[in-house]
C-alpha cells in the first residue's frame, strides 16, 4: 500500500475555509489527506501549532489565508507571512524538511485553487515520504515520560 501522508491544514475562516467549503459544495474531488482546522485568521497560527502537529505525527502542515491585501482583519495574513519563514528555519534546525510546511493564499471564491493546492501538496509530501523524527525523548525531570511525547514512534 502506498504511503498516505497525513496533513494538517490551518484555514482562515474568511477566505480559505470558505474556499474549501466552496470546493466541497461544488463537489470537487481532492485527496482526503488534509485535515482542516478552522482559525479565524492565518495570523492566529502560532508556530507552536505547526510544531505540535509534527510532534503528533503530521507529515505536512498547510497554512492558508486570504490573499495579501484581502485579509478580513486588514493585515493578519502579513503577520503569518512573516512567521512562516522563521518557523521553517526552526524546522530545519529540528531536522524537519521546511518543504513540509507550506503557506498558500486561497480566497473564498477559489474552490478550484484550493483543490489544486491540496492535490499538489499531498503529492509533494507523498514524494518526501513519512516524517522521520529523531528518536529522542524530551522528558523534563519533573514529568514522567509519556508515549504521546515521543516523536517518531510510528
Amino acid at each position: 500500500m502506498s504511503f498516505e501522508p497525513r496533513l494538517i491544514g490551518f484555514l482562515c475562516n474568511w477566505c480559505s475555509y470558505t474556499g474549501a467549503d466552496l470546493a466541497g459544495t461544488a463537489r470537487m474531488k481532492y485527496p482526503p489527506n488534509l485535515l482542516p482546522i478552522r482559525v479565524m485568521c492565518s495570523g492566529r497560527v502560532d508556530p507552536t501549532f505547526i510544531l505540535d502537529a509534527f510532534r503528533k505525527g503530521a507529515d505536512g502542515v498547510l497554512v492558508c489565508g486570504c490573499h495579501p491585501g484581502d485579509c478580513h482583519y486588514v493585515e493578519g495574513n502579513h503577520k503569518c507571512l512573516r512567521r512562516i519563514p522563521l518557523t521553517k528555519r526552526l524546522l530545519k534546525d529540528l531536522g524537519i524538511a521546511p518543504e513540509r510546511v507550506r503557506l498558500e493564499w486561497v480566497s473564498a471564491s477559489e474552490g478550484a485553487r484550493f483543490k489544486e493546492v491540496i492535490t499538489e501538496f499531498t503529492e509533494q509530501i507523498r514524494a518526501l515520504g513519512p516524517l522521520q523524527l529523531h528518536d529522542w525523548t524530551f522528558e523534563p525531570a519533573a514529568e514522567p515520560a509519556e508515549s504521546s511525547h515521543t516523536g517518531g514512534s510510528r
Binding site: I8, G43, Y73, A108
Partner: protein, 586 residues
C-alpha cells in the same frame, strides 16, 4: 435704480432707468418684430426692423430702434404708426434686396404685405449681417472665433483670414442663433441616424441624467458645457428664476458617520466589440440590447421608432442571446435577465413593426413567476425561435438591393442543420458583468469578490444580503446578475438588515474575542502594535496589556504573538487547537 414712466402705444408702464424700449414693450405684451435681438446680449440694432416712433408729447418725434433706445421719463413710444410701418417695410425690403430672402424674411414680408422688393441685386447671399453669431461667440460663448470682416457692401461674417479657426470650440451656438440659416453645422444637418450614437445617456450640457432620476433635477455635464471650455456663457444661471445654478461649486468630500452601509453599485454592460464574429462596431445595424432599449424609448433619440441606420423600417431582426454570458471565453455564468428581455424585444418589435423576428438561443430560461407563460405567448406571436447560438454575423450584400443587410449564421440544433438567416438588424443581448471598479470597492469595504467580480455574500443561503464585514449589506446586481423583482427583494432585505442594526441601538457581539490573563502578562507590549483595530491598550498602573472586547474582532494575531501565552483567543484557545490537532492525528 430709479424708475421712469413711459407709455407704449398709449399704455403707461414704469421701467428701470437704462432699460430699452423693446424690453418695456415686451413687458406690456406689445410685439415688435426683430431679427437681431437676443435678450442676453448687448443690443446691436443691425436689422432695424424693430424701429418705433419716439415722441416727447411736445411735438418732437423721431424713428428709433427699440432694441437699443434707452427709455427716459415722459417718453411716448408708438409701434404702429404709418411712419413706423413705412420704415420697417423699407428696411425689410432693403434686407430682402441685398440677400436671397430666407424663410424668416419671407415670413416678415408676408406680414408687411411685401411681395417683391423694390430693388433687386440678385445675389445668392443669405446673411443679413444681424451680428447675432458674432455677438454670441464673443459675449456668451466667449470663444471669440467669429467677427465681421471687410467693409461696406463686402461686409461679411467670418473667422480671421477665412481660415479654420483654432478658437472655435464647435459649440454650434452661431448656427443655432442664425435667423436665416446662413451658418450651418454641416455634419449635423446632413446626418442620418447612426446607431453608434444612440444616446445612452444625456448628451446635452445640462439635462436630467434620465427620466426617472431621483432627485429629479438636471445636472451640468462638464465635458459638454461651454462654460467649462471658455469660462463664459452661464446662460442657464442667468435664466434660472430661483438662482439654483452655481458654477463655482466643486466636488467636495464629506465625512458621514453611519451605522450601516448598503452596497448597491450595480453592474456594467458587457462590451461585445472583442467578439469579432458578431461585427459590433463594424457593421451598421448591429446594436446591443441597451442601444435597442434606448431606440425603443419614446423619449429616446428616434422617438421610440425602430429604424435602421438609413432610416428605413427593418424587415427582419435577429436577437442573439448569451453574448458574453454562458461563454467559456468571457463569462461562464448565465446573466439571467437576457432571455426574458429578448422575448420582450420580440414582442415590442412585432407590435411596432412588421419585421420578422428571429431569436437565437442556447436555452430559454424563463424561470420567474409568469415568465414561462410570457414565453408561450411569444411562441404564439409568430416569432421564429431558433435553438442554436448564432455563430457569426456577416454582411450579405453582394446582390443588388441587398447591400448593407446581414446574414446570421447558426446551427439549428433542433433540426441539426446549418442555417443562414438574412436580417436587417442584429440585437446582441450582452452579458451583465461586475463593475470595472468592483475590486476596488470590495477592498474599501473589506469584503471579497468572486472570480467573476461579483461581491460575495456572507453565506449563499443563510446570509444572502450580509457580507463578511459587519454592517455592510449587498443589494442588487453588485452581488450577481438578477432581474428587477429579485433586486427589489434583495434591496428591501438589505434595508431591513440595516434598519435592524439602527433600531436596536446596540450591537450584538460575537462571543469570540481575545482576553489578556493579567497574571501571565509580562507587559512586554508586543501585542499592542499588532492589533489592526487598536483594541489593545497598555494599562500603565497594572503594567499589563488589556484587550477592549468591543473593538476586538477575534482574529487572534495577538494570541499567536504573545510570547508568554497570556492572551487567550476565546473559542480558539491554544488548548482547543492542540486538542483538534490531536483529535485529527491520533
Amino acid at each position: 435704480m430709479a424708475k421712469v414712466r413711459i407709455t407704449v402705444d398709449g399704455k403707461p408702464i414704469e421701467v428701470e432707468e437704462g432699460a430699452y424700449v423693446l424690453d418695456a414693450a415686451r413687458a406690456l405684451g406689445i410685439d415688435i418684430p426683430t431679427l437681431c435681438y437676443y435678450p442676453y446680449m448687448t443690443p446691436y440694432a443691425a436689422c432695424r426692423i424693430c424701429c418705433v416712433e419716439a415722441q416727447d408729447g411736445k411735438g418732437w418725434s423721431r424713428i428709433v430702434t427699440a432694441c437699443n433706445y434707452p427709455v427716459w421719463d415722459g417718453l411716448e413710444v408708438y409701434t404702429g404708426t404709418p411712419r413706423v410701418i413705412n420704415s420697417r417695410r423699407m428696411n425689410l425690403e432693403m434686407l430682402m434686396a441685398s440677400t436671397t430672402p430666407s424663410p424668416v424674411l419671407q415670413q416678415l414680408a408676408d406680414q408687411f404685405g411685401i411681395t417683391e422688393p423694390r430693388w433687386k441685386i440678385g445675389t445668392e447671399y443669405t446673411c443679413i449681417l444681424c451680428g447675432l453669431c458674432v455677438r454670441i461667440c464673443d459675449e456668451v460663448v466667449g470663444a471669440h472665433a467669429l467677427s465681421f470682416v471687410n467693409r461696406g457692401s463686402y461686409r461679411d461674417v467670418s473667422t480671421p483670414y477665412n481660415l479654420d479657426s483654432d478658437a472655435c470650440i464647435l459649440c454650434g451656438a452661431c448656427a443655432k442663433m442664425c435667423p436665416t440659416g446662413h451658418i450651418k453645422m454641416e455634419e449635423i444637418e446632413k446626418r442620418v441616424i447612426n446607431h453608434r450614437e444612440l444616446s445612452l445617456g444625456p448628451n446635452a450640457a445640462i439635462s436630467l441624467p434620465f427620466r426617472q432620476a431621483v432627485p429629479n433635477v438636471p445636472r451640468i455635464y462638464r465635458e459638454n458645457c461651454i462654460h467649462f471650455k471658455t469660462g463664459c456663457c452661464m446662460l442657464c444661471a442667468t435664466v434660472c428664476p430661483k438662482e439654483c445654478i452655481d458654477f463655482r461649486e466643486v466636488d467636495e468630500f464629506e465625512e458621514v458617520d453611519v451605522g450601516a452601509i448598503v452596497l448597491a453599485t450595480g453592474f456594467d454592460n458587457f462590451d461585445p466589440t472583442p467578439m469579432k464574429q458578431f461585427g459590433y462596431g463594424k457593421y451598421p445595424n448591429v446594436i446591443t440590447s441597451e442601444e435597442f432599449e434606448m431606440m425603443n424609448n419614446a423619449a429616446g433619440p428616434t422617438g421610440g421608432k425602430i429604424v435602421l441606420e438609413n432610416g428605413e423600417e427593418p424587415r427582419a431582426i435577429a436577437i442573439l442571446h448569451c453574448i458574453g454570458s454562458r461563454d467559456q471565453e468571457y463569462h461562464k455564468y448565465c446573466s439571467r435577465v437576457c432571455c426574458m428581455y429578448a422575448l420582450k424585444f420580440a414582442h415590442l418589435v412585432t407590435e411596432k413593426t412588421n419585421a420578422q423576428v428571429y431569436q437565437f438561443y442556447i436555452d430559454i430560461r424563463s424561470f420567474g413567476k409568469g415568465y414561462e407563460e410570457f414565453y408561450q405567448r411569444i411562441l404564439d406571436e409568430d416569432v421564429n425561435i431558433i435553438r442554436g447560438k448564432a455563430a457569426e454575423v456577416v454582411p450579405s450584400g453582394f446582390r443588388r438591393g441587398e447591400e448593407g443587410h446581414l446574414l446570421v449564421q447558426c446551427e439549428d440544433t433542433l433540426i441539426g442543420k446549418f442555417r443562414e438567416i438574412p436580417v436587417d438588424m442584429v440585437i446582441l443581448c450582452t452579458a451583465l458583468q461586475a463593475r470595472a471598479d468592483a475590486k476596488e470597492v470590495a477592498r474599501k469595504f473589506n469584503i471579497s469578490t468572486g472570480a467573476d467580480g461579483w461581491f460575495i455574500e456572507a453565506h449563499p443561503k443563510l446570509a444572502p444580503v450580509s457580507t463578511t464585514t459587519e454592517g455592510v449589506f449587498l443589494a442588487g446586481t453588485c452581488q450577481g446578475p438578477k432581474d428587477i423583482p429579485d433586486t427589489v427583494a434583495q434591496g428591501s432585505a438589505a434595508a431591513a438588515q440595516a434598519l435592524k442594526l439602527l433600531c436596536q441601538g446596540e450591537v450584538l457581539m460575537d462571543a469570540a474575542y481575545a482576553a489578556v490573563r493579567e497574571e501571565f502578562c509580562s507587559g512586554c507590549r508586543m501585542c499592542n502594535g499588532l492589533c489592526p483595530y487598536n483594541a489593545i491598550e497598555y494599562l500603565d498602573d497594572k503594567r499589563v496589556s488589556f484587550v477592549n472586547a468591543a473593538l476586538c474582532k477575534a482574529c487572534g494575531t495577538c494570541v499567536a504573538a504573545c510570547p508568554s501565552g497570556a492572551i487567550v483567543g476565546r473559542h480558539f484557545t491554544d488548548e482547543q487547537i492542540f486538542a483538534q490537532i490531536e483529535g485529527m492525528l491520533v
